[in-house]
């Protein structure tokens, strides 16, 4: 009898096996990523200091955001980050094309250009804050030499965000450059050859022959740059703590300040900021996923 009716496991082995293999990963992902997302959304409806009783206040946290100048400032700083950070893509492409030639010692130059990406963001932040530092910083001294009056970038509320973004671009350009260098390795030489026979060179060659072949690399570069811009936290934290008077805050740093820093512990408000940041990220992430899905199905 048992021989006639195969067990449930035998009958469905092929269907079940992938899920069994996925189970540990899915469990971890659910416990540490998916569930906390919903918990954050839940907490964002409370007024809670992390210690005492949490009181349900509905959407009051979200209502407060609209009249909170710090929130507005952080949001616009995030927009500036997003726009300027994307400069890493053309800059990285430029350097990659420049380095994509066979000269003696090119490997050394490549690794030197890649170097900033290897350093941790914290070190990048420290290097740049010394570079900008009033009284002894290199940039300060140079400006002082030419104009007679130094500019302390990190003390100036109008310049500070740009100063931090410049620091962030340094490793980001290196990252994009590496993506493009590997992409350039895969450019088909016969197509370049054919284009050359047809008389294409310079910008035309780049735009009509090289760039289309680099599309996968461009896609990844844009994705990592957009996500990198939205989660910019370490540089702000290291270089300015969001100052002077909150001029360089971004959403992720403001969330940390409200929920977890020394003067914060407004868990509900911090969670609400996190939800807003998540929503902004979702716009981009779903766009990327949609594009990837479309590419897969077209093939």
């Amino acid at each position: 009898m048992s021989a006639k009716a195969p067990s449930y496991w035998k009958a469905n082995q092929r269907r079940l096996a992938p899920w069994l293999f996925l189970a540990p990963g899915l469990l971890m992902f659910a416990v540490y990523v998916i569930i906390p997302i919903f918990q954050s959304m839940w907490i964002s409806f409370y007024d809670w200091d992390g210690l005492g009783e949490a009181t349900w206040i509905g959407t009051a946290n979200y209502a407060e955001m609209s009249s909170d100048p710090n929130m507005v400032k952080s949001f616009w700083n995030n927009v500036i980050w997003l726009v300027l950070y994307l400069l890493a893509v053309p800059a990285g492409l430029l350097i990659a094309i420049f380095l994509n030639q066979t000269v003696g010692g090119i490997r050394l130059y490549k690794s030197l250009f890649f170097f900033p990406f290897v350093i941790s963001q914290v070190v990048v932040g420290l290097i740049f804050s010394w570079f900008y530092a009033p009284n002894f910083g290199l940039l300060y001294k140079v400006i002082e030499f030419f104009t007679g009056k130094g500019v302390a970038v990190l003390a100036d509320p109008d310049l500070v965000t740009y100063g931090i973004i410049a620091a962030g671009l340094w490793p980001q350009i290196a990252y994009v450059m590496i993506l493009y260098l590997t992409g350039l390795n895969n450019v088909a030489p016969d197509q370049v050859e054919a284009a050359r026979l047809d008389g294409a060179k310079g910008w035309k060659m780049l735009y009509y022959v090289i760039l289309p072949q680099l599309r996968p690399a461009t896609f990844i570069a844009v994705v990592v740059t957009v996500i990198g811009a939205l989660r910019s936290f370490d540089l702000v934290s290291i270089m300015t703590n969001g100052g002077p008077f909150g001029s360089s805050r971004v959403l992720s740093y403001y969330m940390y300040e409200q929920a977890l820093s020394e003067y914060g512990y407004r868990m509900g408000y911090g969670a609400a900021i996190a939800v807003v940041l998540f929503a902004i990220m979702m716009i981009f992430i779903s766009g990327f996923i949609w594009k990837m899905w479309r590419d897969e199905t077209e093939r």
Binding site: A133, A152, L154, A155, T240, G243
Partner: protein, 415 residues
């Protein structure tokens, strides 16, 4: 062979029994703290004295990193409470007191006559008429100055009695002419600017008004608040430019190098000044000048404290320890080692340190002691307030916007 094994077993058993008996003898007192190396050594010496006096108690000190402790305390108070924990006085302890995480220790104060001995710190340890911990050390704030910078600018060096406000401002003009920053600070971490504001407020409108402001009873748009900023505006042009991008240690370097003359700071900065090469001969200290004549002189004196968490297991011995820490002798010894001031008025201080003795003199004759802006005001107000102060020091023309924003925050914080 068998005999040997049996013998070894018996030995092990005997050892086990003796150690367990040993452990039973001593009652364990778990103490979570956040000391830097020098205070840690001083506290370990104090604990050794306490254990010598109470051989049946074993104090287990669990030292945390200073910054990490501020986060850790919120976790361990609710999950795995020790018997003793470090924290700070004033509004800083209010969240824990209100959440029922600290134990009422009014009885320790009553039984040991501490209401009198620790009188100057009593108010800052009281919430709802009860005492919530024991202060063991504090330090004075005031103006530290470089006498060489005074000489270089041709300004008379102030005596121990300090100068008046008009003289201070006119000195600033002379320093400015000589290319020296009259007043330096580094507000990257925000709190150093609050020290200046505290004194402007205490000297302009007095202690009671200042505490009302910190407790949200006075509007930020009030005329008296405006008056504080008017006075602050008089020295604003003479404050180190770019202070928003530098840390307090960088500003200390400016004072040491003679590029700045005065620095409103806490006494812990003396160590940094001296490491930079200053000595008792060219480093001076004075109380912040009087601004509104006749206002009783109040000072900033941030107090460090020890508390018993509500979840403590060995409360009886913890109270014994608190009483010991509060005693005059223990405080004398501890504070001599860390170079700060004892809160017990019967303690003595080292006479050979001019800054310690000046501070002890200044605080014991003060009308009242404030904790510091970020300890007197609730966290959210403190953060917004310190940002406002920093902004005013950079953009004084924005005063109306700053005050309007702080008033908005006040409406949200104090409900």
């Amino acid at each position: 062979m068998v005999h040997k094994q049996a013998g070894a077993l018996a030995l092990v058993a005997a050892l086990l029994m003796s150690t367990s008996a040993f452990a039973q003898d001593k009652r364990v007192l778990k103490y979570n703290a956040d000391y830097d190396p020098i205070p840690l050594a001083a506290m370990e010496a104090l604990i050794a004295d306490f254990e010598a006096a109470n051989p049946d108690i074993d104090v287990q000190l669990n030292n945390f990193d200073h910054e990490g402790y501020k986060t850790a305390i919120r976790n361990f108070l609710t999950t795995d409470a020790p018997d003793l924990a470090n924290w700070y006085a004033g509004n800083r302890m209010a969240p824990f007191v209100n959440a029922g995480q600290f134990m009422d220790v009014t009885d320790v104060w009553e039984e040991n006559g501490l209401n009198d001995a620790l009188g100057s710190a009593a108010a800052s340890m009281t919430i709802d008429g009860k005492k919530w911990g024991i202060p063991y050390t504090y330090y004075q704030w005031g103006i530290y100055f470089n006498k060489d910078a005074y000489a270089a600018a041709g300004v008379d060096v102030p005596g121990p009695e300090g100068v008046d406000w008009a003289t201070f401002i006119s000195n600033c003009e002379k320093f400015s002419a000589a290319g020296i920053d009259c007043l330096t600070t580094g507000t990257k971490a925000l709190w150093p600017g609050a020290g200046i504001f505290d004194y402007m407020s205490l000297r302009t409108n007095g202690y009671e008004w200042h505490m009302d402001l910190a407790n949200g009873k006075v509007a930020w748009t009030d005329d008296k608040t405006r008056q504080v900023f008017v006075e602050l505006g008089k020295i604003q042009p003479y404050v180190t430019a770019n202070h928003a991008a530098i840390d307090w240690q960088d500003a200390a370097a400016l004072l040491v190098q003679g590029k700045a003359a005065n620095y409103v700071m806490g006494n812990f900065a003396v160590g940094v000044f001296k490491e930079g090469g200053m000595t008792n001969d060219n480093l001076g200290f004075m109380a912040f000048p009087e601004i509104t004549p006749g206002i009783p002189r109040a000072e900033d004196a941030p107090t460090d404290t020890i508390h018993i968490p509500a979840g403590a297991k060995n409360v009886e011995d913890a109270k014994k320890f608190l009483a010991f820490v509060a005693s005059a002798d223990a405080q004398t010894k501890l504070n001599a080692a860390i170079g700060q001031l004892p809160t017990n008025k019967n303690s003595s201080v080292a006479a050979d340190d001019p800054f310690i003795s000046a501070g002890f003199e200044m605080l014991s004759s003060a009308y009242a002691l404030a904790q510091f802006f970020d300890r007197d005001a609730p966290a959210e107000m403190a953060k917004a307030g310190m940002e406002g102060i920093q902004q005013f020091l950079v953009q004084p023309e924005q005063l109306d916007n700053i005050l309007a924003r702080l008033e908005q925050v006040r409406g949200q914080v104090y409900k």
